[in-house]
């Protein structure tokens, strides 16, 4: 049994880790870290866990935890993981960081977009960007995995094959993203109140959202080209789900069949990526509760553009599910262990 510690177990992503690991046959949680709820029964924080989890919350003490756990998930605010990371911790345990601290290779880009100083840049090189379908090999041997952001996971996987194959002009890529409200976290803030979110849709962080450089870095890497994108997130009145609608100009004339073949080439063997049938648009509801990414595209001859679409559950493939997938890879388990979740409908 893999001993798992969670730092930040009472946020929504932390809660989802607990839900997923409850069904994992090779892992058990030994530490429910939560600075806000120390000594409180975990099931009193998330009552869905009543009679499922008996433990209480512990402090966010990563050093103590490193000695007890085979792997630590940090589902914490930006800067926390970097501020406590040390060679000692990494020599004792593996770390899967769900924050952005080790996602961006260029530390100056990180510091500019996040507005904080990186406290342990010496680990950035070692950290593996844990987008499983792209970096599976590197994840396998990693001590430190940077689990991708929710918007980024969906944005990148949707465009990746076409970026990689040089089909789209990377200077024209525009990503219009829509997210359910769990992405905003469980903090008690006025804009996240029911009556403020319900019956409403808005864009936010226009041209300034922090997931932008993460997407750019990865797609630049895939395409071998400079990649500067427009990325606009929107808040949608639903609990879960991210949909990205991505626009790019085509580099050359392609047919539906050719594009489909490219997607299939990259994703046919992937358990968690489903390239949909022609003219079927991804819907977030069809992946809810699961680790799937649903992807499709539409060629538009009139504009010489392709519209790519992707859908994920932001808490699963966009956070906890991908983290567990990374854990499975790192420990040599079947990649889908604990993740064979059939989407729930309705």
């Amino acid at each position: 049994m893999i001993k798992v510690g969670i730092i930040g177990a009472t946020g929504y992503a932390g809660g989802e880790l607990v839900r997923l690991l409850a069904g994992h046959r090779e892992a058990e949680i030994v530490w429910y870290g939560s600075k806000s709820y120390i000594d409180k029964k975990y099931a009193d924080v998330y009552r869905n866990m009543f009679e499922v989890v008996e433990d209480s919350c512990l402090d966010d003490n990563m050093e103590a935890l490193a000695k007890k756990a085979d792997v630590i998930f940090t589902a914490t605010p930006q800067g926390f993981c970097a501020s406590v990371m040390s060679e000692e911790i990494l020599s004792e345990t593996k770390v899967i960081d769900l924050s952005a601290d080790y996602r961006i290779k260029d530390v100056s880009v990180y510091e500019k977009w996040y507005g904080i100083e990186h406290k342990s840049p010496q680990f950035i090189d070692e950290a593996v960007y844990g987008l499983c379908e792209v970096n599976r090999g590197a994840v396998k041997g990693a001590r430190l995995v940077a689990n991708p952001g929710c918007y980024t996971t969906c944005s990148i996987l949707t465009a990746y094959p076409l970026a990689k194959e040089g089909i789209i002009d990377m200077r024209t890529l525009i990503i219009d993203a829509k997210s359910g409200t769990s992405g905003a976290g469980r903090g008690a803030k006025l804009p996240n109140l029911y009556c403020e979110v319900n019956e409403n849709i808005k864009a936010y962080a226009v041209a300034s959202h922090r997931h932008t450089p993460e997407i750019e870095e990865q797609l630049a890497c895939a395409s071998g080209e400079e990649t500067v994108i427009s990325f606009t997130p929107h808040l949608v009145p639903m609990n879960r789900g991210i949909l990205t609608t991505e626009y790019a100009s085509l580099r050359k004339a392609v047919t539906d069949e050719e594009v489909k073949a490219i997607y299939d080439h990259y994703y046919k063997e992937e358990t968690f990526v489903r390239v949909l049938e022609r003219d079927v648009c991804p819907e977030t509801k069809w992946v809810e509760g699961s680790n799937y990414v649903d992807i499709n595209f539409k060629l538009d001859q009139r504009t010489n553009r392709i519209i790519m679409m992707g859908a994920i559950d932001n808490l699963v493939k966009g956070a906890a599910g991908q983290a567990v997938q990374n854990m499975n890879i790192m420990f040599g388990l079947k990649e889908s262990e604990g993740l064979k979740l059939v989407p729930m409908f309705p």
Copy 2:
């Protein structure tokens, strides 16, 4: 492997059966019956099933199916199962009927409340009312199980221990029930449109809902008293979930501890019934996607009443989950096989 056939596989309850059985290690679906979608790929009807289910829908032919399946689930409109039932079918296979056809022992009551003639009353006596926690023993040997209604499952389990122990006056029982919209089915009807249901709550079928006599019959049986209740269902703008708020006058003075002890006596060993801690009210969200029933109560000295509350996921414990639980009992499997579903939050 138990071979399962589903008649009515494309309704919401049918879809939930498919979701649950996809995670069941001892059962496989051999027949996706759906009169409306014959020959259509099941995954085209429910796209969450893309790459999960490869089969296409078949006709609702129960006789043909009886020869192929070890058990048939009928998730069909009232009257269908009774109209096709025969000794021949029951001699070849087991049947778990999710409709109301065999739930009510008094055929005249059935015919009055449902307004249709019962086509095979000769099987009513044999049929076992499949409320697992109450009738487990009888279910074990049954050929024909009448799977309880969604409102009734929640209503009965919430009041059952107190009815059985004579704590409450059965002539005073009032059940005010609230249901998510999946309970209304997948039929394309104006009152079920998004814009009609959203931002709205209403009572319906006041003093005339068909689940009333089912609740009365079962609680009369439990209490040994004539039981005539007020039952008022309400439609709530959410996909899943039933909450029942039940009011009854107390027969004698009882303390919180005494009532809790009674609930614990009946439910402590029950995997799927969670009697909550003092002053914690059940919420439908805490059971969503799972087979749990969450129950609690509040004594009100001022009125000499007890307010009992119960919450279920109407598609799981209120339909497909309980049906699978019944199947597990009938086939001697572990009762929780395929049903260890941690509620999804948020």
Copy 3:
């Protein structure tokens, strides 16, 4: 022009007052009081008011305001209005208090249920309970009006004619109430977050909600009998609306026509009470945005009970709308001035 001051203008009820008064031809707001947002532009707090309201928020200074305003609305937490009330204020202006401070005539009942000391009990006798349809005459000459609670307005008006006429047994009255989330206010609290409320329904404050004694006092007064009720509020995933489902045993045999005639007797001339046609159940959506109360009932011969149902918009008839209606009465205006709001659908 009536000069209106609002204390607590940035809560949801305060915001609704501003919306309604913007359409009132005989009143203008001279003071947007808000302790939390002093000097902030009102339209920055509620952006629907952009280019509608140009003013900024002022302090909650009731004495200063009394000199400037013809009427003050206090949409403030319990205890505030009582703590600042004085003969001087009432000699200079009229006050319509949307809090509970002057609703309950028995100060010990108030102090028990609200858990706070009443700071100005000397004004309780003078205060008029502003349920317009019942106390119109007294409101007319009042200096201080206690605007009824949201749950209470709906609960009382729904049962009032039958209580008054002795048709129902007041010891058997059970009120099961359901409210949209705006009733919980605009405070940034975890239980009010979108992801906590959405796709969820729960009871709360069971047998202990503070609106209980207010309903009891008014219905006792109407019926001339001791009235001790069960009252259970529920939180529903919608912005606005209250639905009450009320159960009571009948004192004598009555027909539908007789009950309808009683309701019509009391409400036929009332602009804002709509007694629906037979078998039509009230729905909150049909009154949204308006000052209407929709009422209907169902006789149940089987149980000798009547089920009464009422629906309001909690922010309009349940708060700001009724407050404006009271103002209209107090100032001798047409009662419907500023309140001819057609419900918005969908």
Copy 4:
């Protein structure tokens, strides 16, 4: 009093016309046309209208109506208005068509995108495209007004000033639009069921939505350039509201102040267009129930693009409100008569 007839009074747009005209001091409805509900009381179709509208529905007989009404609103499916239009009708009454029949000047474009033959192309030239803020002068004298589509109203008004002033490269314009579900109409179709829409977001009609050529024609006219756009509509789980997020490359370097000045130049005097303050993003909730268009923009130096955003209530400014605004212009009334609707929040 202007005598108004409505053909298609029982769709959502028709219902909104009735709501708005109920508050209009210079107009009265003389004909509630509805093929589906002939002879049924209008208030039985929309119960919010109980005791507000006493009339029953009449047939969709436009010739009979033309003799009785000063103006006819046709809120009907595509093709209907064109199929019944005649010189006789236009000589007797004015017509404001809420369908697409007369919106597109190039009949071949209409026939291609709508897939139907235009039955009265002879009136296309005469018809005025009723985007009030752009075509006010022409509307004034019109007999036949083509009321713009919901998506188009929002899309065009958001980009119009920058297109007109040559600030943006029209070949790069991408419009990503999000709509509430009332835009899908009141037809009882499976994809519009509550459980299918709720907790879900999807794109649809990608690169093929019928509002595309309407936007292109108007913006080409404004900019004097060929305009071929990408337009992607999305279905959002809310009743009302459209948000458009529009991307375009800048033709030249501009500052925030310069762009703001352009918007102000076009819209400062417009009652129903609100150009928001810097960094405030439009939200559909802030315009709900009103005739406002909220607009703002964000310059992105990194990509040399501008992101424009607009929000409307699809049933008001996107349909019935704009239709009433057109009527006011045509009859020489104050343009805001009946339309001074303060947005409802929450």
